[in-house]
Symmetry: C2
Subunit: 229 residues, 2 copies
């Protein structure tokens, strides 16, 4: 197919496709004349993945290029290819510099969190960005004077693990690597707000039961919360 059809098929504008070609995010087509190239299904699939990484995943062009370089390198396993995609997703927190006076507290907390999760038998890379997110969050809670729930990680971790297993079995159904990476990006990013919204609704339910007793929940008229508008 030519560029115009590739654009139509993928839903990506011709200008964006040309930009992705220049940036090396999609492979060049096969030249059929001085000004035309031929594209195929692989390009459609790769374009879909690039869009997922940039828009849904919030990756930079450079990060997307890194993910694709690993995806295309046969030296990496499928576990590694999907892992690189997940590592590149925001958020990324700033780690204190080694000479920073906050660095010692950072390193100690990070080691404590890692040990807590390893004690659960979890396997993950020492450089997993999730460890930095956990460290930053716990230190911030402590700075504000709240209990740091490092020993409560077990509860949170146990709640997350069956979820991760179910999600991963869904991702495993995508045999084509590009589709599996795209699904990794989409599920990781788009299901996050679902989890957080359910946690907030659960807070509201717990509070409602505490203050108004256990109701059926089926009658909006008996609903205790005020209109926040």
């Amino acid at each position: 197919m030519h560029l115009a059809e590739l654009s139509r098929r993928s839903g990506v504008s011709v200008a964006s496709i040309k930009f992705y070609l220049r940036e090396g995010l999609i492979p060049p087509g096969v030249p059929v004349s001085a000004r035309k190239s031929e594209y195929d299904e692989l390009h459609v699939r790769r374009l879909r993945l690039v869009r997922a990484m940039l828009t849904v995943g919030g990756m930079s062009v450079g990060q997307a290029r890194d993910v694709l370089a690993v995806a295309d390198d046969p030296a990496f396993t499928r576990h590694e290819r999907l892992g690189i995609a997940q590592y590149m997703l925001p958020p990324r927190v700033t780690v204190p510099e080694p000479e920073d006076e906050a660095r010692a507290a950072w390193d100690a907390m990070r080691a404590q969190i890692r040990a807590e999760l390893r004690a659960l038998g979890w396997r993950f890379h020492d450089e997993a960005p999730g460890l930095d997110v956990l460290t930053r969050s716990v230190l911030t809670l402590q700075e504000l004077g709240y209990d740091a729930p490092v020993d409560q990680f077990r509860r949170y971790a146990e709640a997350m693990r069956p979820i991760a297993e179910a999600e991963y079995s869904t991702i495993e159904k995508y045999e084509v690597l590009e589709e599996a990476i795209e699904a990794t990006v989409a599920y990781t990013v788009l299901i996050e707000p679902i989890l957080l919204a359910l946690r907030r609704l659960a807070h509201e339910d717990v509070s409602a039961r505490l203050y108004y007793g256990a109701g059926s929940g089926s009658d909006p008229g008996s609903d205790p919360s005020p209109d926040p508008g």
Copy 2:
């Protein structure tokens, strides 16, 4: 105490305190001369809450003022006062206008999600912003061609509920309303990244077991993930 000591005690600059006074976020002190007012512990506590709402909670000045108006109104119950604070926390998603053609699909999905959660016995207000977040997330997944996990909400909801119960019992320990609201803001916002980071680490663990077998997880040298740098 005078303004300078209030600033020292609360860690909030004099300029910021004057701004909060002008905006009505903290009550005025008692005038002791033409140019001086006297402040007390209530001001220290209120300043801490205002800072938590604006910086940790990411609320606007107007939203913080709304939360405080409810907090100070004896017509509201404690459930309602804490609920208003939670409702004002980001994210807030944009709901399609009633005349928008996307509105029918939006309303149908929102009603389906609400019914799913009500079937679990959950009690929450019909206008809970979490319902809008859920609706937006599921519709976006569908638009990208992924299964919308509305019937999988049960799994996510069941994972979140014991977490919410434990968190709520912590918040309940704060008897002073300002401190309970501050804890609601801090715990809701600062524990969210902890949950998400643990979910990503759980994904990595599930993938590692699938591709490399169940290891002890205690030996970083056996760690399968590549360095993403």
